[in-house]
Every structure is written in C-alpha cells, then in structure tokens.
Symmetry: C2
Amino acid sequence: MAVDPRTDKQAAASLGAMHTTGGRGSRKASDQTIYDSIYQAVLTQRLPPGSKLPEVALSELFGVSRSIVRKALTRLASDHVTEQSPNQMAVVARPGIEETRQIFAARRLVEGEVTRLVAGTLGKSEAQALRKLIKEEKSAHERGQDQHRVHCSMAIHQYLARQCPNQVLGKMMLELVLRTSIVIALYKAPGITACFLGNDHGRLADLIIKGEADQAAQLAREHLDTLEGLLDLDEPSGDIDLASILRYT
Amino acid sequence: MAVDPRTDKQAAASLGAMHTTGGRGSRKASDQTIYDSIYQAVLTQRLPPGSKLPEVALSELFGVSRSIVRKALTRLASDHVTEQSPNQMAVVARPGIEETRQIFAARRLVEGEVTRLVAGTLGKSEAQALRKLIKEEKSAHERGQDQHRVHCSMAIHQYLARQCPNQVLGKMMLELVLRTSIVIALYKAPGITACFLGNDHGRLADLIIKGEADQAAQLAREHLDTLEGLLDLDEPSGDIDLASILRYT
DNA sequence: TTCATATTTAATGTCGACAATATTTATCAG
DNA sequence: CTGATAAATATTGTCGACATTAAATATGAA
C-alpha cells in the first residue's frame, strides 16, 4: 500500500529543510508552525499524496512532544490535507477519482464567485503585486523550474482568495486550492510537464484588474475546466480482469 | 463579557442530557461523541453563542481525560463552531456582523448549487422522508414547540446537503448551515418568535422532487435572503455617543 | 524453500502530573 | 465604601509514561 518508497525520515526531511532556520532542528515550534510546514510542503508537492507522517519523527524534528504534533495533524485532517485512521499513521490525503471531480466542481463554483467579487476591487499596489506573481510564474516556466512554477501558480490563486472581500468564501477557496494541488500530483497524466495553461493567469489578472467581473469569473471556470481535463481521471474498471492482464500467449 | 448568566456546569448540563443514555455520565466517550454532542447542542441552540466550554467539566461529564476533550474542541474550532484563544476557555463562536453577511452570501452560493444538484435525483423513499421532515416542522410550528421546530428546520437543510451528489459541496453546506444557526441565535430580532417562512420549505421540496432545478435553486437563494433580512444586522455605530444615550433632559 | 505461527518491534491511544497563565477572591490604604 | 494591590484558586499548555494495537521479524514444521 506504500505509495512512496522513501523512508519516513526522508519524508519528514522535506519538512526539516523548510522550518529549520539555522542549526539543527532543536528549536521549539508551535502546532501552527508544524501545520504551516506540512501545509506548504503538500501545497508545493514536496510531500506527495500518501506520504507517511509519523508522530515521533515529527515531534523530534520540531523539538516538541507528540501532543503538539497531534494537534497539528488533527487540524490538517479537518482541512482534508491528511487522512487519519485509528491506530494508523497519518498520511497525506489521497482523494479518489470521484472526489477529485467533486473538488473541481466545487472549486469552479467558489473560485468563480471569488473572482467576480475581487474584480474591480484591487488597488494599484495590489494589482502590481498580482502582476508580479504572474511574471514570476512565467519566468519560472521558461527556465524550466517546475517546482517553483507550481509554487507561483498556487500563490496566484491564494492571493486572489485572500483579496476576496468575502473571507468566508476566501477560506473555502484556499482549502480547495490545496486539495486541487493534491489531486494534480496524484492524477497528472504522465509526460505532462506542467499545468501551465497558455497565458490564462495573465488574461485573468487583466480582467480582474479592469473590473470585468463576469468575464473574469467565466475565464476562471474555464481555466479550471481545462486543468481538470489534463488529468488522467479514467475509472479503473471495477472488476479487474486478471486473466487478460497476466495472459501472455 | 459573559453573555450567558448560567454557570459553566449548567452550560455543560445541556450536553449531558443528550449524551447520557441511562445512568450517570460515567460511560467512556470518544472525541467524536463529544464533537457530535456539542455540534448538536449548538445547532439546536441549546448552547447559545458565547457559552463557555471548560475542558475539565467536559472531561468529567463524558468520563474521559482532557486529551480527548481537547481533540474535540480543536476539531470544533476548525469547523468554526467554537473559538479558541490561548490560555482561555473555548466558547461557542460569536461571529460579527460582517462575517454574518459573508456566511449568508456563501451559503446562498453553495446551497443554491446543492439544491440544483439534488433536484430530480430523489427517489421515492427519499422524497417521502423529505416531506415527512417538512410535515413535522409544520406541526411543531403550529403547536408552538419552537425548539423542536428549529431542530426540524435544520434537519431539512442537512438532509438536502447529505443527498447532494457532490459531497464536497455537501459538507461545505453542512458547515454553513451550522454557522447560520449560530448567527440566527445571535442576531434574531427580538420578538421574532421564529424564522418559519411561510411554506418555503414545502414549496422548495416540491420543486426539488419535481426536478425543477433552476426554480428550486432560485427559491433556496430567496429563502436565505428573506432569512437574513429578518436578522438585526445594524452596525453598532463606531463611536458610541454616550451623551445622547445617557442625557435625560 | 515456503507458509503459518510466535516473537519482537514500533507506532498510536489515553492518561495523570506539573508548569504557566488567567481569573477570582481577599486584603488594605485612602 | 471604593479602588488598587496581593494572595489564592481555577484553567489551560506541555510533557512523559504506560497501555494498546499494528507491523515487522524471527522461528519452525511441512
């Protein structure tokens, strides 16, 4: 059932690089620190779906007791970032095909509305910050820095969510953006180097800044539609025909 | 700052009546049990916004250690049911005016879509169950059993959320239904005996069962609009003019 | 060897203890 | 009596210990 061949310690190391600022990982950390570290690692796909998250390894890494780790893991599970089953290690969430489709549908609804609400509300500095993010994404794409490009892409959507006047919707969108990142890592069709969709983000930003709410919302939904289409979401046939797979005559 | 004059023990007692089945509250309980108990008590407004939730009282009531209680409280806070500040007792959430408006706006969006998705998908038995809930709500309304009526009203919306083919959206709606219940308890205009809106639920059920998706969604949104309008959401003026309040000449 | 079983190991589940902090109560000067 | 200060109480924050359960390893018979 292990998706990832890396050991637990190696998986945890993906986090260590992030949170330790200087020396060894002996500095105390709050549950929020742990939450954020794992959150970011999952968002940027350094912790792929199914990665094990052992409490002891994390507690040693962050220099706290298991209680703190457990609180962080509980919150992460509540936000669908991890899965927790009784007496089993927490793992990064592995949504199924159907749930993946539902996540995209929900995100189309929520992000469409968020986009509509943000459109026309950005001040000069906010618009500039948005354009800068898009520029950085493009640059990362051209240089082939795929991980950084993913990071930028996520940052763009997060920025929009945080700029939304309705923060209840904004928080929902943040959750859905993360879950989208997870399912992309899971179902990205092999060979698809990235999900850099033309200049969608650039055009979207223009519409938002200009205040074309309806067009912006429409583009956002189409953008997500295209993204979903790039995934490999074919149902594995219910009854696997072992014979046809193993017969080599 | 205390919203409620009742003591902590009395507040906790609202839960005890629910979860203890027979003898005294000495049966062990999981964090899920505690979560559900508080969830239901908040939903049915037995625990009004601001109610204190001390860990020790809960742990004694449910016969478990504080660890279990803390886990339940962490999850409840993650779902915006309670508020947790460092070194302070957890309390039932008290959303402000602005957040209340955002909750209603978000719920209009989400419940509108959920309604559209559910419309036309209900089988015979599901349709019957829905009508039964509505009948019970009406009955409770006519008999003046307000608490039971609130319970039924919530159950109707929860039922729709659970019937939604898109459970990602369904879960979001469940959260928003609960938060709506909280803000209704907070901002219900005095004298308004209830939020029983004509026969909205009955008409909504008819449209859903008949499969009139667009009309059903539209009605759901209007229903929520009306509900929000019944609340007293006037901003308290930023600088309170004590003079005008206290001058009696 | 290979499979089933027993042992060992390692992880989570739960609890109680103690420290740190906030709240309440008691004390006392004015 | 009022208001500020100090002691006492109550509550949360964190930790380590032990029990429980799952997984990995070792053992032995066929």
